[in-house]
Amino acid sequence: MTLDSPPATAPPPDADTDGGKARTRPGDRIFSGLARGSGITLLVIMAAIAVFLTWQASIALAENQGNFLTTFEWNVNADPPVFGIAVLAFGTIVSSIIAMVLAVPVSIGIALYISHYAPRKLAAPLAYVVDLLAAVPSIVYGLWGALFLVPHLTGLYLWMDDYLGWTGVFAYEGGAARSLFTAGILLAIMILPVVSNVSREVFRQAPKMHEEAALALGATRWEVIRMSVLPFGRSGVISASMLGLGRALGETMAVATVLSPSFLIDPSLLDPGGGTFAQNIAASFKEVSPAGVGREALIASGLVLFVITLLVNGLARLIIARRKDYSGANA
């Protein structure tokens, strides 16, 4: 696909002799050609992925004997195959929601601390450490989660069961804490850096003149943040959260390492079981028999994840656009 661009980069040799029109400089033409080529390439790749996913998914769906959206089963090697994404959709969405609920407030706290509270000598190293957290490979998070987090969460889960077990959602029967909640906690730690880094940059750009307006009225530091920094950073924080959510929805290795998968929807989030789209693809890809539609079925589940991610991004843009009149950018 990149082959589309080179012809545009070569300026026609007779550029100077064309006296009728204003002369465009070769540099301009090369650059606009490259930029246009990159843009087109991106669109072509996106379209190719969408077409491939839809085409492969349609093969699997034609063979499927169960209802793709509601079946609690993933039996692709059976003849005829029976599979559905209900459990995967539930697990993906629930673990991502848990991750967001835990990570977003903490990230905003970290971002505000670095941008507005920490002394300058501390802020720079702290920001660096948070950046470092983003550089850890996800399999390392997975190993840490499985070997450290899982055994250490049992106590917390027993305690939650004592006080909140009556809700059903936080009931816990003991056993290895390889549950959706654990996956959510791990995902929260993994998306913390991206959410807090983007928020920090937005908070840093909050206009000094509005912070000073609040200060001059006799606002305390927290009131300054509430009156001028948070309203200004609102859309940025939403974008940051969506970036984090995108990562949580698609995270594969870390979830596959800590979760003990099952094709059941358990009302308790603390008991082991459940699964996510990405985790299921990673875990079952090697086990599909080459004869059936196992691979195509996994691709169909991938298409659903693709659509969910698109919807989430669209929703975020909608929220940001709705508050445009009051955005800090009008100042």
Binding site: R120, P207, M209, H210, E212, A213, A214, L215, A216, L217, G218, A219, T220, E223, M227, S228, P231, F232, R234, D325, Y326, S327, G328, A329, N330, A331
Partner: protein, 258 residues
Amino acid sequence: MAKRIDISGLSAYYGSHRAIDDISMSVEPRSVTAFIGPSGCGKSTFLRTLNRMHEVTPGGRVEGKVMLDNEDLYGSDVDPVSVRRTIGMVFQRPNPFPTMSVYENVAAGLKLNGTYKKAELDDVVEKSLRGANLWNEVKDRMNKPGSGLSGGQQQRLCIARAIAVEPQVLLMDEPCSALDPISTLAIEDLVGQLKSDYTIVIVTHNMQQAARVSDRTAFFNLAAVGQPGKLVEVDETERIFSNPSVQATEDYISGRFG
């Protein structure tokens, strides 16, 4: 409401750089005092030491005394937040909160002070907007964003926001430098009205403005770039503009330098 300010031996620093050096002067209550001088002479810095805004700049530090009537603003037991509640400030560029409506902007300071009763807020908002000569222009758009007003209206909105909390002193840092002549005139008229209730200090680059609005004028100067700014003289505005006692003041006012 208005109190006098007595400043003695005041110096302000940015890190190790001394921006203003050893200033002593008084600001009379219920009058307008103008600060004039070339760029970089420290008049804005000096203004910001009067409500303890200077120290929020990283590295900002102040030495000396500022007495508001009989209270030392830099006393060890004084909370800078409460100082800023008694001394209001209007800035060079109009800065209404962009995420708040006209109404919310004026009510912002009252809410900080713990006033939440609707009727009380309504009263003060109307009174402040009338006080800032803005009521007739905005009474039908109280719930529209404050940033939708014109520049001059925004600046009067900021003045309304500042006087809504009934401060002892109103500090104005070049309040008209971003405005057109008509809006400037509106602000100057307003300053003339407000001085019957407040002690007003105004920094300006516009000599005619200082002559028009102020009762007393202080002239600041600096020996060279990088040197700290100093107070050259402070006197009745009429004297400063007709017969100043220091040659540098006359040179500056007559446009021979600066």
